[in-house]
Assembly symmetry: C2
Homo-oligomer: 229 residues x 2
């Protein structure tokens, strides 16, 4: 029987690569996306496009409203920083940080995995390009995994353990893109920009665009998405 | 300055007691409740009544739809067991278990606490009367606390630690009720039944009613809520 995995699917380059990696090692992929009061629907539409292109088993979308709490540029009216250098990014938690976001996402993934009798969750975090978010660090993922094992039937009744798979953790953005290309991922349908303009065109200036563009440059490739000119 | 605490508020006897305990030790209480596809609105209305009666600072209600995953009597059409003895309850995870529910609830509480600059979350779990749920055990709470500390700005930037407070953990239901009464909690507005009938009357037969009724009996008091005759 094919094993099942829940993959957190944002519509970005990393999570699309995660889906392809999980499928490549033999998992049936169940995708999980969130509408969480983002400024814009482009992320969510990209997640649906990735789910379809990679032919996953099922795609569940959960609506949650993190705006009830406020506190982040991605869900409120704080200005998204543009044109920061990688040095800035190394030393502070950016205003685009959404409080406890990965914890909330992984918690829903855990619920989904438990109902599927799946032990495996995939999340496309990586520590090299992680841009300052505390909930992308390996020690955080380890702690979540330990907690998840104690939280669920799997841990109480079975001999299996919940595993939070982070195949991208130690990869650079360039390595991620290379890997995805080798697995046939079509990056033209993914999106990364924190603050897209008209027609969902990426700004090319925010931390996320900066990291993405550098990633493609690293293998001498051109990013197939369109940017604001 | 008064310290802030986020208290998970279900409308039940335990969470109402938690609010009173947090207030009694000097916290301003920010209540957090969830509409998560329960069969019935009675829990949620009770949470609002408790928030009002105990005069908390703010009450945030989050809508999440756990029915997207299925898998529990409280959110789908599985029959709620009636008339089980406490021996049955000791030895199995009941069908009323909702996958990863406390993990999801605590994750939202963590996001809320972070936006309030609060380090304290209260949850009314207890291990003695816990009725078989894996995510009510002290080792689970400890693991969540460790993870939460790594997940957030508080853990990265500050000297403070996220604390998951479980003041009811080692109390019997009778001790909880005694404590709440000493702090002036009005239990007539709380609700505990998994399967209430017409006019929200408690069934008196499910695990939760059974534990509650035993709790009041333990101090020779009469439960002030109405039951189906």
């Amino acid at each position: 029987m094919t094993k099942k995995a829940v993959v957190l699917l944002s519509g970005g380059l990393d999570s699309a690569t995660c889906v392809a990696i999980a499928q490549n090692i033999g998992f049936d992929v169940y995708g999980l996306s969130f509408r969480y009061g983002q400024r814009d629907n482009h992320e969510f539409e990209a997640a649906e496009a990735v789910a379809k292109a990679l032919n996953i088993k099922r795609h569940v979308i959960i609506d949650i409203d993190l705006r009830a709490f406020g506190g982040s540029a991605l869900t409120s009216n704080v200005e998204v920083p543009k044109g920061r250098s990688s040095i800035d990014m190394d030393h502070e938690i950016p205003v685009t940080y959404v409080p406890a976001r990965n914890t909330i996402f992984l918690s829903f993934a855990l619920a989904f995995a438990e109902t599927l009798n799946s032990n495996d969750i995939f999340i496309g975090v990586n520590s090299l390009d992680y841009s300052g978010y505390p909930d992308c660090r390996p020690e955080y993922i380890d702690a979540f995994q330990k907690m998840a094992h104690l939280a669920t039937k799997i841990g109480v009744e079975g001999n299996n353990k919940v595993k939070i798979n982070t195949p991208l953790m130690d990869m650079t953005k360039t390595e991620i893109i290379k890997k995805g290309m080798s697995l046939g991922v079509d990056y033209s349908i993914t999106t990364s920009c924190y603050d897209p303009g008209q027609n969902h065109l990426a700004c090319g200036q925010c931390d996320s665009c900066f990291i993405r563009l550098n990633g493609f440059a690293g293998i001498g490739a051109v990013d197939p998405i369109k940017y604001q000119s």
